[in-house]
Every structure is written in structure tokens, then in C-alpha cells.
């Protein structure tokens, strides 16, 4: 029983892909022999012993490979070692190409093809017979119906049949035209070639591409092709060569659109994963910065990268994030916005539980604090977890300015949150229940202004708030320059006209305006949205129960917020539960007094006292 448990845990532990490359073959061999159907669900129960064995073998093989120059020798020794598990395939496959000529004319994989080819292709492995492969690829990609897929057949050094598969438009044409095809076709390049592993020879001597890899399984080749990698199949090889040729149209790096700062870098993330990662690497030049790439989405399989600092981020946290990403069972994940919803702790909570940012510098600061940053392909927003309420209110400008200024703008922001969420509600309460609290001169002018308004205050407030929401939403959706104009003109005209028509009182325009401005102060878009909604909740509570209602509402909200967690970190973390407090929450201290990492994140270097650390 402990064995099984250990194996299950082991299975869920992510291992870097480099280590796996050598052992993939033997793993799949043993798998295919056991369950020919490729039933994935059974994997973890039947294979726990094999894993250990495979690891051992992989290690052996790697050391051997280091000692021996020739790849074929390594292959033979591996085959010998595998013995019973593998089907005893010869290491040198060139010799079969004569027989292959015979079968090539037939078009389909029928009679005349080696049974072993069929067995391999059935198990989703690359077959040595190129005709089988070509047919398999065509069927997989529905060629010729699917016209994006290009299958380029040619001969390597005028002798060996081969073909390239790639997706048109996803790859860089010059790579194929200048560095792959001419060199493979040139017989001069194969002058020294003797009876050895042709793929190894090509990798070492022919193709001048910076990144190539050999893969056997179609399950790994096909996603790579879809990512823009070119696959090279050569007759007689039971592996395909993946040639890094990605080159698709992408947006250049621009200034962030949603998070503007006055002082600070003006670079923003783009939709390209590689670009985004490089932007992060550019800021954190540390060998401890780990990038792990995981596919997300059952059907669209986009890549997302986990970026964290190995010696800072809590290993438990990294594990948890990976567990959640792996367990996403959703067909179509489009961007980090969708990923966020699939990852968050409580989908019914109003507040965002991850923080998304468009700024590499901000993402880098999250990483440095011990958070895990998830970069998602196709989205210029990266998300960082875990998050606390105070993170959502910080802006990168806080720390880039001197601490006095930073503190000032941060306090302004906190004030903005209070105003944006409470002012209309308080106004409701004040006017409906607590008119004694209004200074008399003000009350008299309110009276005078409201005299012509035929509606009760609630209707008045809701009317204006709804109008404001419409303007705001309209301003975003309306294309281009008209958007801004609509926002300003709409607000001005609507407000003025509403007052003139006697629909609302002028003082309400001020209330709505100050609430709107307060909302714009909030640096996080998700939080701003939450506050926009909460505002209506407080209007309701204020209208029904006055200040009592506001305080009841605040209590409910605080209780709910207290119970919220983001990846195990309480949402109001440094305050409740109370941990050793980072000074960088509301008030900023001079930079030299302020540690980078927060205790509540339970980073490797610090202890919060909240949880037991492993190994202590």
C-alpha cells in the first residue's frame, strides 16, 4: 500500500522534460505491451514499479551515452538491456530501406508492410516505414481536406525517402528554405555517412538549426507541429526529428495599455509566450528562475508557463499550482483570463483571487516576493498567485517612487476604494435616515436642490449609477477615439441634462462622479469591477437600513473576505490571520527598511508561523 501511494505521489510530481527524453522509448514500449488500447486511466495503478525501473535505466543509459560517442552503440546496449520488455527492434534501420521501396508504391498501409510497423503505428509510435508514417500523418491532419498542413516529400541526399510536415504560416519559411531542405538534399553533406543512425548524423552534421529533438510518439509530435515546429520523417527511422522553426506573426512589444505608470519601465507583455518569458528573464537574471511549460485545454492545448524563483517560492505552492493546472478539464482555454477562473479557489467570491498584470516589472516583483507567475500563451496578461487584498491595491509605481510619494499615492488609493464602494450607500443612508447628521446649511441646499426632483432618493441614485455604468461600458466598447469622447461628452451632457430636466439633483452628480473617480483609482481591473458591484450592494443596504445597514453590509463583506483564500493564503493575510507583518502593505517605509518577501507567502527564506514548514 505505501508503495502504491508513493508511486501515485511520484506520478503527480512533475519532472523536467529533459530527463524524460532518454527514457520515453522504453516507457512507452512497456506501456504498449501491457495495454494496447492506450488506456490512460489505468496508468498509475499498473505501472508503479516500472517507473522506478525506467528511471534507473535512463540513468544508466545517460551515463553510457556520455562515454560512447556513437549513438547506435548506445541504442544497441539499451536494446540489449531492455531485453524482454521491448520487441527487440534492430538498432540500425537503414538496411530496411530496400524493402521500403517495394511498399512505397502501394499508397496505403496494407499488405507488404512489416507487422512491426503496424504495431508501432497502432500504438501511436513512429513507424520505420515512411509510407506508413505519411499515411498516418495525412489521416491525422485530414490532408488534403485540411489545406494548412504542408507535407513536403523529398529525398535525403538523393537516396533516402523523407518528408517534412509543418503548418503553413506557423513556421519561418527561411528556416526550411535555407537551412533544412538544401542541406538535406545536398549529397555532399552525406559524403562521410556510413551505416549508422542517420538521424544522429543529420543532427550532428547536416542541419544547422539551433534546436532539434528526436521524438517517437505521435502524441508528442503532433502538438509540436501545431505549435509551429517542423517534423522531419526519414525512411527507416522510428523517430521523427523536430526542427525548431517557429515563426508566426506577432505583435511587437508596446507600452502596457491598462497599467500606466508615470515613472517606471514602459514595456508590456505581448501575446507571445516566448517574448513574455524573455521579458521576465531580462529583469530577473538569476539561475534560480525556473520556467516550466505545461499545456492547458483539452482540445486547444495552449501552452502556459509557470515562472518562479526556486529558492524563494514555497515548494508546496508550486506543487499546488501545477496540480491545479494539470487537472483542468476544460476543452478550450483561451487566455489567462479563463485560466484564472479555472484555477481560483472560490469561483463564487466577488473578489479576484489571482492578480493579473500586463507589466513585466510587476510580474518580476511578484516572482521575487515568492509568488508563482503563470504566463499564458495568447494573452498579454500574466497571472500571479497567491494574492492578498493588499497586492491588488498596490501598483508598481508605489515602489518606484520615493517612499513618501509612494505612501501618499497608496493612501490615496485606499481612500479611493472606500469612496468607490461606500459613498453612494452612505449618501442613501444619510438622506433617508440620518438627516440630523448633515450640517444645516448643507441640508437646506440639498432640500432646495432636491425640491424639483420627483423621485425618491433610491431611484435617483440608481438612475444615475446605471447611467454611469452604461457610459463606462459604452466608452470601452465604442471603437477608438469615439470611445473617449463618448465617455466625457456622455457624462457631461447626461448629467447636465438630467439636472436641468429635474430628474436628479446636482449634488448626486457629484456623488456619482466622485464614486466613479474613486473607482478609477483602483489599479486592479478585477478588483475595480468587484467594487463596482459592491457599491450597489451598499446602496441597497443604505437605502433599506441606513447606517445600520451599511455596517451590517460591511460586517458581512468582511466576514466573507476573511474566509477567502487564494492558493492557501488568506485574502487579508498579514492582518487576519496576523503574521509577522511586512511593512509594505498600506504605509511604505524607506526602501532599505523593507524586506522584499512577505511572510504570509510562507516563502522558503522566511517563516510566517502560520504553517509548519516541511523538514522542520
Amino acid at each position: 500500500m505505501p508503495n502504491i501511494l508513493k508511486a501515485v505521489i511520484d506520478l503527480f510530481t512533475y519532472k523536467p522534460p529533459q530527463k524524460f527524453k532518454a527514457e520515453e522509448y522504453s516507457q512507452d514500449q512497456s506501456q504498449s505491451s501491457e495495454n494496447a488500447e492506450g488506456n490512460d486511466s489505468q496508468e498509475n495503478t499498473s505501472e508503479e514499479i516500472d517507473w522506478q525501473k525506467i528511471l534507473r535505466q535512463a540513468d544508466d543509459q545517460q551515463t553510457r551515452e556520455n562515454n560512447q560517442v556513437s549513438g547506435s552503440a548506445a541504442n544497441t546496449s539499451k536494446q540489449a538491456k531492455d531485453g524482454a520488455a521491448s520487441t527487440g527492434r534492430p538498432a540500425v534501420v537503414i538496411r530496411r530501406r530496400n524493402r521500403q521501396k517495394k511498399g512505397a508504391g502501394q499508397g496505403s498501409q496494407g499488405a507488404g508492410i512489416d507487422e512491426r510497423d503496424i504495431a508501432l503505428i497502432k500504438n501511436g509510435m513512429v513507424a520505420p516505414n515512411i509510407a506508413v508514417n505519411i499515411e498516418y500523418v495525412k489521416q491525422k491532419f485530414s490532408v488534403p481536406k485540411n489545406q494548412d498542413i504542408v507535407i513536403r516529400e523529398f529525398n535525403v541526399a538523393k537516396r533516402i525517402k523523407a518528408f517534412l510536415v509543418f503548418v503553413d504560416g506557423m513556421m519561418d519559411k527561411t528556416v526550411i528554405n535555407q537551412f533544412v531542405l538544401p542541406q538535406l538534399m545536398d549529397t555532399a553533406n552525406f559524403k562521410d555517412f556510413s551505416q549508422e543512425d542517420i538521424l544522429d548524423y543529420i543532427i550532428r552534421n547536416v542541419i544547422s538549426i539551433y534546436q532539434v529533438s528526436r521524438i517517437k510518439e505521435y502524441s508528442k509530435i503532433i502538438p509540436q507541429i501545431l505549435n509551429g515546429v517542423t517534423a522531419l520523417f526519414i525512411d527507416g527511422c522510428n523517430e521523427a526529428l523536430l526542427i525548431e522553426s517557429r515563426g508566426f506573426e506577432k505583435r511587437s512589444i508596446e507600452a502596457p495599455r491598462t497599467e500606466n505608470v508615470i515613472r517606471g519601465p514602459q514595456e508590456g507583455f505581448t501575446e507571445n509566450l516566448r517574448t513574455n518569458l524573455s521579458l521576465l528573464r531580462k529583469i530577473i537574471k538569476s539561475e534560480k528562475l525556473i520556467t516550466e511549460i505545461l499545456p492547458v485545454g483539452n482540445k486547444n492545448r495552449i501552452n502556459c508557463a509557470l515562472v518562479y524563483l526556486d529558492d524563494t517560492a514555497d515548494p508546496e505552492l508550486v506543487k499546488e499550482v501545477k496540480r491545479r493546472i494539470r487537472n483542468i478539464k476544460y476543452d478550450f482555454v483561451e487566455s489567462s483570463g479563463m485560466l484564472e477562473q479555472l484555477l481560483e479557489d472560490n469561483p463564487f467570491m466577488l473578489f479576484p483571487q489571482v492578480i493579473s498584470t500586463e507589466r513585466p516589472d510587476r510580474a518580476a516583483s511578484f516572482i521575487m516576493e515568492g509568488q508563482v507567475v503563470i504566463v499564458c500563451e495568447g494573452s498579454p496578461f500574466v497571472i500571479a498567485v497567491p494574492v492578498t487584498f493588499f497586492h491588488l491595491l498596490h501598483s508598481s509605481e508605489d515602489t518606484m517612487l520615493r517612499w513618501q510619494y509612494g505612501m501618499f499615492i497608496r493612501l490615496t488609493r485606499f481612500l479611493g476604494v472606500l469612496i468607490a464602494s461606500l459613498v453612494p450607500g452612505l449618501w442613501m443612508a444619510l438622506v433617508q435616515f440620518h438627516s440630523e447628521m448633515i450640517p444645516t446649511p448643507l441640508l437646506l441646499s440639498i432640500l432646495k436642490m432636491r425640491e424639483a426632483v420627483p423621485f425618491p432618493v433610491v431611484v435617483e441614485v440608481l438612475l444615475m449609477e446605471v447611467a454611469f455604468e452604461l457610459i463606462r461600458e459604452g466608452g470601452i466598447r465604442v471603437p477608438g477615439l469615439i470611445g473617449q469622447t463618448l465617455g466625457i461628452i456622455g457624462a457631461l451632457i447626461l448629467g447636465q441634462a438630467a439636472v436641468a430636466a429635474g430628474l436628479v439633483s446636482p449634488i448626486l452628480i457629484i456623488i456619482v462622479a466622485i464614486t466613479g473617480i474613486g473607482n478609477f483609482v483602483i489599479p486592479n481591473y478585477s478588483l475595480a469591477m468587484a467594487i463596482r458591484i459592491i457599491r450597489f450592494f451598499f446602496i441597497f443596504m443604505g437605502a433599506v437600513l441606513g447606517f445600520y445597514g451599511i455596517s451590517v453590509g460591511l460586517t458581512i463583506l468582511l466576514a466573507l473576505t476573511c474566509s477567502m483564500k487564494s492558493f492557501g493564503v488568506p485574502f487579508l493575510a498579514p492582518f487576519t490571520p496576523k503574521t509577522r507583518r511586512s511593512s509594505d502593505l498600506i504605509v511604505r517605509k524607506p526602501l532599505y527598511k523593507q524586506p522584499v518577501t512577505g511572510n504570509y507567502l510562507d516563502t522558503v527564506s522566511r517563516r510566517s508561523g502560520l504553517y509548519h514548514k516541511r523538514g522542520e
Partner: protein, 423 residues
């Protein structure tokens, strides 16, 4: 399910238990700013309300919204009724809005009522009314409260509440009256330590302002030595607050002038500052102007010889010289005490007169009772002693200490020089 149900129940309870029913739109209420109370003709009391007129403003667009507070106008309503609450109900037969007293500024009671001892009777329902603040200012109007309420109009502005608040605030600037609330009167009425006072108010009709007559000589009046309504002035605001009404229980028995109110404030330690004019000690036909402040709280000592109370009151004052008309060089350390002693004599004389006046009324408005009570072991003994009745027998010694701190912007006075023939 259970959880949802309990949450639902909680919400329903929260909403059922409170709130909601009290919600009242600001525009559904008539905010009473002034309440005036007279003796009625057709009924026991005549109650006057003053409230802002419900005119729409600021909604006309264009220039309408410029100054929403500007151009407020006010309306008054006078009703004869057997009691305050009855008046409220009757008022609502003609006013379409609920009367709301949360913003009441002044409660004005006519001298008639005060002298007849009806204040207690009338205030009883008012102090129980939850919407009338205990800190509402209370005034005693010299003649008709209704007239006072009607004529109290904003002066130099349009806002009556600002007018009221700022007018009362002048008490601190001059000390000629005091900032007294409903609480002060109502609480003191039942006190065994002292007797209540209230601010005197009146409509000044300008009767004391004599247009033509012999010109004034070198003599002069003591500043503020008037009762409300008697100040010789013309135009300005129609109303004035000056001096204090002295009560015995809830019956008004006497008045203090503005000047006496100041001395009372000094003796109680409430005096902020005030200007005094005294004759120059060396040339009595000319004046010396002083601005006087309280240096520290007065010392009050009370002791008893048998049943007879003795009180020793020492005032500590300080001040600046505002003017020396004679040009005598008083600014030297040797000469300053001359003015100081003269002023001390002046204050002591006036203070003694005021104390004597209150003793004749037998009203301890000086709060000596607060010190006297410390000589008694129990409240019962104190109540049995009955300080309020014994006050007239008290022997009161007074002493004044005055120091000049600054001499204004001059440190040397020089005589005015005349041409040859005048010498």
C-alpha cells in the same frame, strides 16, 4: 439546505427588525429652524415656527444651479395651542410635511413665560422629544418671542442657520452673553448647586438711538452695560443677544447686563477675552483701552462659620494695552503697575456690585455652590443645608490680579505736540 435557510432567516430578521420604517426622504420633512414660545391669547401658549420655504432651486439649469444655497427664504407659522405637542399636530394640518426638529437652532421663550414660571411646564415635553437636541440654544426674548423669531433674518448672507451659529459664537469673542443650551437651563432648574441663567435676546427697535441732542462729554459708559434691546444703534440686524436672564428655579427673577455677564464669565472661568475702557489714572478725562483675557481659572474658596458661608474669589487676568490716549509713558516696568492697579480696582468694584445684585436676587449664578458642596460629607447634608436659599447670606470677598503682558506695537508713548498758542 440548512445553511441556506439559516442565512435567509438571518437576512429576513435583519430587515424585519429595524430600519426601513424610519426611512424618510429629506424632502418629506419641514426642518424647523427656530421655535418661539409666547403666552397665548386663544390658548395657553403661542408657538411660532420658522422653517425654510420649500422652493425649488438649482434645477432650472443654466444660472439656476449657480448658488443652490443662495436666496433661501423662510416662512413662519404661529399657532395657539395648549402645549408644544398639540401645536405640532395643529401645524401639520396646514403644513404638508412632517415637522422635524433635528436642525432647530434656537428655542426662544418670551420673558412673560419666564417670569410666570411656566418654563418648566413648557420645556417638559420638549426635552423628552427625541428629535430635539439637548444642545439646542435657548434664548429668553425681551418682549414677544414670535416677533423675535419673525425678525431674526440672516444678516450679511442668506443662511439663517449660519447667522444663528455665528451669532452665538460671538459670546466667546466678547463675553457679553454666553453660549447656553436647552440642557443648561433644564438641568440647572433642578440643581441644588446653582441657579440657571439664559441668554437674553431682544428685537432692537432703535429706540435708544437719539438722533439729536447735546453731544456727549468726556465721560463714557462701561462697555456692554446694557440689557438686550437697549443698545443705542441704528439699522444693522434687527435682533440682538446681550446679557443674561437670571432664574430662580424656572422663574426668571432678574437680568444681568452685558457688562455683568462678562464679570460672571470671569468668575466662572469662562471668559475668553474682552475690551475694557478705563479712565487714565493720571488724567481721568482720558481713556486707556485694554484687551483683557483670563490668565488662569479663578480661585474660589468657601468656608463656613456656623451656618454662614464665606466665599473668597480671586480672579487672574492679563491683558494688552490697546491705547493710551494721554500719551503718558506707561510702558515702563515702573509705570505699568499704575494701570494694572487701576484696572484691578475697577474690576473689583464692578464684580462686587454684580455679586451683590445676585445676592439680592438670591440666585447663585456664580457656581459657588460647586465649591461649597465639597465641605459636606454627604449629599443629604448638602441638600438639607439648602445652598440656594443661603446664598444671600454669604459673605463674599473678592480679589483681582491683573498683569499687562504686551503693549501693542508701541513701547513708548509720547505726548501729542501742539503749536505755540495752545501751551
Amino acid at each position: 439546505m440548512k445553511r441556506i435557510f439559516s442565512m435567509l432567516l438571518l437576512f429576513v430578521m435583519l430587515f424585519m427588525l429595524t430600519g426601513c420604517y424610519d426611512a424618510r426622504d429629506v424632502n418629506d420633512a419641514a426642518y424647523i429652524l427656530l421655535i418661539g414660545i409666547d403666552r397665548g391669547i386663544s390658548d395657553k401658549f403661542r408657538v411660532t415656527f420658522k422653517f425654510p420655504a420649500f422652493e425649488a432651486g438649482g434645477a432650472q439649469g443654466g444660472s439656476g444651479g449657480e448658488s443652490p444655497g443662495g436666496g433661501l427664504s423662510y416662512k413662519t407659522l404661529t399657532i395657539d395651542a395648549p402645549s408644544f405637542n398639540a401645536a405640532l399636530e395643529l401645524a401639520n394640518t396646514s403644513i404638508p410635511r412632517t415637522l422635524n426638529f433635528m436642525h432647530a437652532q434656537f428655542i426662544v421663550i418670551s420673558e412673560d413665560i419666564a417670569k410666570a414660571g411656566l418654563v418648566g411646564e413648557f420645556l417638559a415635553p420638549i426635552v423628552r422629544n427625541s428629535s430635539i437636541r439637548y444642545s439646542t440654544r435657548l434664548l429668553i426674548a425681551k418682549e414677544s418671542a414670535a416677533e423675535f423669531v419673525e425678525l431674526l433674518e440672516p444678516f450679511g448672507g442668506s443662511d439663517i442657520t449660519r447667522m444663528c451659529e455665528n451669532l452665538i459664537k460671538q459670546a466667546q469673542e466678547t463675553g457679553l452673553f454666553a453660549d447656553l443650551t436647552l440642557y443648561d437651563l433644564h438641568d440647572c432648574m433642578t440643581s441644588t448647586y446653582h441657579q440657571p441663567i439664559a441668554v437674553l435676546a431682544a428685537v432692537n427697535k432703535g429706540e435708544n438711538f437719539i438722533e439729536k441732542g447735546p453731544k456727549w462729554d468726556t465721560k463714557y459708559n462701561i462697555p456692554g452695560d446694557y440689557y438686550a434691546g437697549d443698545v443705542p444703534r441704528k439699522k444693522g440686524s434687527k435682533v440682538e443677544l446681550l446679557g443674561l436672564a437670571v432664574f430662580n428655579g424656572d422663574r426668571m427673577v432678574g437680568k444681568l447686563t452685558g457688562h455683568e455677564s462678562r464679570l460672571l464669565a470671569m468668575a466662572k472661568g469662562n471668559f475668553k477675552k474682552g475690551t475694557y475702557t478705563i479712565p487714565d489714572p493720571k488724567r481721568p478725562e482720558l481713556n486707556v483701552d485694554l484687551e483683557v483675557r483670563e490668565a488662569r481659572r479663578p480661585d474660589v474658596k468657601v468656608w463656613f462659620e456656623g451656618e454662614k458661608p464665606f466665599v473668597k474669589l480671586k480672579l487672574y487676568l492679563e491683558g494688552d494695552i490697546h491705547s493710551i490716549q494721554s500719551g503718558i509713558h506707561y510702558e515702563t516696568p515702573e509705570m505699568l503697575p499704575i494701570i494694572e492697579r487701576a484696572f484691578e480696582r475697577f474690576i473689583k468694584r464692578e464684580l462686587d456690585k454684580t455679586i451683590e445684585k445676585t445676592q439680592q436676587l438670591n440666585c447663585d449664578v456664580f457656581h459657588f455652590g460647586h465649591t461649597a458642596v465639597k465641605k459636606f460629607a454627604t449629599i443629604q447634608e448638602w441638600e438639607a443645608y439648602d445652598w440656594n436659599s443661603r446664598y444671600k447670606d454669604a459673605k463674599i470677598y473678592t480679589e483681582v490680579d491683573f498683569k499687562i503682558r504686551r503693549t501693542g506695537t508701541m513701547i513708548y508713548s509720547s505726548k501729542i505736540k501742539y503749536a505755540e498758542e495752545d501751551k
